[in-house]
């Protein structure tokens, strides 16, 4: 209807639209730093025109929809990449710890303890009649044993720390799943009314992002607006329902280890990416490899030294057949008690005479014999290439982490490009809306004057 009141209506509606637009702008500006926030923008549209002479007459503006600027595909890519980053971040961190534990190359490490052990037998061969050279052999042997113990126990400690981490991650997953389910509920009820649940979706997407770092997930959105989340192939969240993940145990050579189990079934979940994948792999494959290798080194050392030692004679000229080391692996390697209590029993001599140190020389020569890897490597070769291998694994983890992080960063930038708030842009919009608001107000006041003219100026 083209009456002045109709025009007032246009003005009034415009004022309210621009007030709303300002509201949205204000919301964007306030949330420019909110994690996971997607900027919103009003979609303006014309209201239904009316039939009039000479044609269709417009009736003003409305906000058709408050649109959330978000690219679903980017979300997918970001989550996949986040899972990779999660995995390699853990690998890099733990392998870095392993490198610190071994502390090579340095003077306080297994490589050094080993060579000083061999050399102490040579010093003994130079002076077998003397107690002090024997005490030195005992001391260097103790340092060697302690080094094995320390490495072994610190590596086991990493395994137990990983178990604790896994427990924490499972709790985190369950907590995130609960919150996502709750948001599903809220989003569904709002969207069933035909409105966009923009901020709630933002929150839900943020939680799903956090979930993707922990393990590999996939998301399916249903028509009602709820998100179904699959983790490691099994459904974790379905509408308002969640499946709680639990912990089960199984035993391993290095103690009890935790598995992540699925709900009631107790079935163990296998992860292909994410922090959990990294942690479990480290705990079950990588760290045990080092523990096994150390055990192998220790047990062969014990066996070969004892074998040579028992062929020799102590200082008394008659005691023979004694072991030097006790124990069987890196955890329990130690000195035989008889030797510890009486170093004169250390078998330096091959024939019982006190000036003969040839058995001690033979023991020190074990350093050059091919005793490891099916008789193809010396003790030194074996350990040194183990360290080289550690270096390669750690380097690989670092590089993968850096690369994946870079990729993730770029994807995040793309996401920000779509969803992020640009204050400059909002300021520009704000100026725009303000002018439009002023103009709309001006229309109202002009129409008011026009009405005044008609009502008060026309007629008698």
């Amino acid at each position: 209807m083209s009456s002045l009141i109709g025009i007032l209506d246009i003005g009034k509606r415009a004022l309210s639209v621009y007030r709303l637009a300002m509201n949205i702008t204000g919301h964007n500006v306030a949330n420019a730093n909110t994690p996971g926030f997607s900027r919103q923008r009003p979609i303006l549209a014309t209201t239904l025109p009316i039939d009039y002479n000479p044609g269709q007459l417009g009736t003003g503006v409305k906000i058709a929809e408050i649109q959330r600027m978000r690219d679903r595909f980017l979300d997918l890519q970001v989550r996949e990449e986040t899972s990779s980053v999660g995995q390699w971040e853990k690998r890099q961190k733990v392998l870095g710890e392993v490198e610190t534990i071994f502390n090579e190359p340095s003077d306080s490490s297994l490589n050094n303890a080993l060579v000083e052990f061999w050399n102490s037998w040579q010093d003994l061969a130079n002076d077998p009649e003397n107690i002090s050279a024997r005490v030195a052999v005992r001391e260097k042997a103790e340092v060697l044993c302690n080094t094995f113990h320390r490495l072994n126990s610190k590596l086991r400690r990493i395994i137990s720390d990983i178990n604790d981490s896994i427990k924490g991650e499972v709790e985190e997953i369950n907590s995130l799943a609960q919150r996502i389910a709750k948001l599903n509920d809220q989003i569904v009820s709002i969207e069933s009314k035909g409105e966009n649940a923009n901020d709630l979706r933002d929150q839900r997407d943020l939680l799903i992002d956090q979930l993707s770092k922990i393990a590999n997930i996939s998301t399916v959105e249903l028509e009602d607006g709820s998100a179904t989340i699959f983790m490691a192939g099994n459904s974790l969240v379905e509408r308002v329902n969640t499946v709680t993940l639990g912990i089960t145990f199984h035993s391993s050579p290095y103690g009890v280890v935790l598995d992540v189990s699925y709900g009631q079934s107790g079935q163990t979940l296998n992860f292909t990416d994410g922090e959990l994948r990294g942690l479990i792999d480290l705990r079950d494959k990588v760290i045990p490899q080092y523990l096994e290798n150390l055990d192998s080194l220790a047990s062969t050392l014990i066996e070969r030294v004892n074998s040579q030692h028992s062929a020799g004679y102590g200082l008394d000229g008659s005691t023979t057949g004694l072991d030097f080391f006790s124990g069987s692996d890196a955890l329990n390697i130690g000195l035989a008690t008889t030797i510890e209590e009486d170093v004169s029993l250390i078998a330096a001599s091959t024939d019982g005479s006190p000036g003969n140190g040839s058995n001690a020389l033979a023991i020190s020569n074990l350093a050059h014999q091919l005793t490891m890897n099916g008789n193809s490597a010396t003790f030194g070769d074996f350990y040194q290439s183990l360290m080289g291998n550690l270096g390669i694994l750690s380097q690989e983890a670092s590089q993968n982490y850096t690369n994946n992080n870079l990729l993730l960063s770029q994807l995040e930038n793309h996401r920000q490009s779509v969803s992020g708030v640009s204050l400059d842009e909002e300021m520009t919009n704000m100026i725009n809306y303000q002018h439009s608001f002023e103009a709309a107000a001006r229309i109202i006041s002009t129409v008011d004057e026009m009405m005044n003219t008609i009502i008060n100026g026309m007629g008698a």
């Binding site: 490589n111 060579v115 061969a125 005479s353 000036g355 040194q384 270096g391 969803s419 204050l423």
Partner: protein, 303 residues
């Protein structure tokens, strides 16, 4: 591309972090002086460095063994020199004593001197080096020779060697798989071709018996004894040479090992400092640029 504020600060921070990380790594290398501070810095280099470190220590040990061997050999050498001097004096006494113009008192005096020489030679035979008997083979805690003495005069009447034997070899490792025996058996020095103790006792007794003919007979034995001693001495001389040669080789080896180790492990200071300066410039530029991008916004210009 549409740029959001968050993007600007995040990209800036990322670049800054990268720059700082690079600087920190360079600083680590400079402060430790090493380019390999953990295996992942250079896996293959680590394997090499660990091996070289081991070789260096083994090399030092061989040198130590050689020092020990050298000391023993040197001492042994000077002891045998001492013995040679004594034998020469014995020869002089024998020549004097075989002169028929000498009177009995003089021969008695010579006999006493001979007895002193015998005691001296006996104590040489039981020489100790750092508490170990020199001529006892590997029975280093047992004296190689024991003397039977006359009840009244206290003079040595017989010398017996350790029944357990004097021939054991005292070995030192002077290189990987290379062993050298550093001792000389008492047998080779004192009793091989001729029994030196017996010869001296014969000389003393002949002089006491005032028999110049008998004294003259001892001269041949004394000559043989001298040759016996010279043979033993030259064996020691040969070992000393061997050990000196080995030491010189080991010292060269050591230089090589140390050089290789340094090339593998050590940081190149000049390069690191140049890199550091470059990175610092990058860091400062990043900061300055950041200030230009992060701070201003449209708000400053809308009034």
């Amino acid at each position: 591309m549409r740029v959001s504020n968050d993007m600007i600060s995040r990209i800036f921070l990322l670049n800054l972090e990268n720059s700082v990380t690079r600087i920190l790594r360079i600083q680590e290398r400079i402060s430790t002086g090493r380019r390999i501070n953990r295996p992942s810095d250079d896996p293959i280099g680590t394997t090499k460095a660990l091996n070289l470190r081991m070789l260096e220590k083994l090399n030092e040990q061989y040198q130590k063994n050689i020092e020990d061997a050298s000391s023993w050999l040197n001492f042994n050498d000077s002891v045998l020199d001492d013995l040679q001097t004594a034998l020469n004096r014995a020869k002089g006494i024998a020549i004097q004593g075989s002169d028929s113009t000498l009177n009995t008192e003089d021969r008695i005096a010579l006999a006493n001197e001979t007895n002193q020489l015998l005691e001296h030679i006996f104590s040489i035979a039981n020489s100790k080096f750092r508490g170990k008997y020199l001529f006892s083979g590997t029975q280093t805690t047992t004296p190689p020779y024991t003397a039977t003495r006359d009840g009244t005069t206290g003079e040595i009447t017989a010398v017996a060697s350790n029944p357990a034997g004097l021939d054991g070899e005292i070995q030192r490792e002077i290189g990987q798989g290379v062993r050298l025996s550093i001792n000389v058996s008492g047998n080779d020095v004192f009793t091989k071709d001729v029994d030196i103790f017996q010869t001296l006792m014969d000389l003393r007794d002949a002089l006491k018996a005032d028999d110049p003919g008998q004294v003259g007979d001892v001269l041949d034995d004394l000559d043989t004894a001298s040759h016996q001693l010279i043979t033993a001495q030259s064996r020691i001389g040969a070992k000393e040479n061997r050990v000196e040669g080995a030491l010189s080789w080991l010292q060269d080896e050591n230089l090589n090992i140390v050089k290789l180790l340094s090339e593998t492990e050590d940081a190149d200071f000049i390069k690191e400092i140049a890199d550091l300066e470059q990175q610092e410039v990058i860091y400062q530029s990043t900061l300055a640029l950041g200030k230009r991008i992060i701070l201003p916004s449209l708000i400053d210009f809308i009034k």
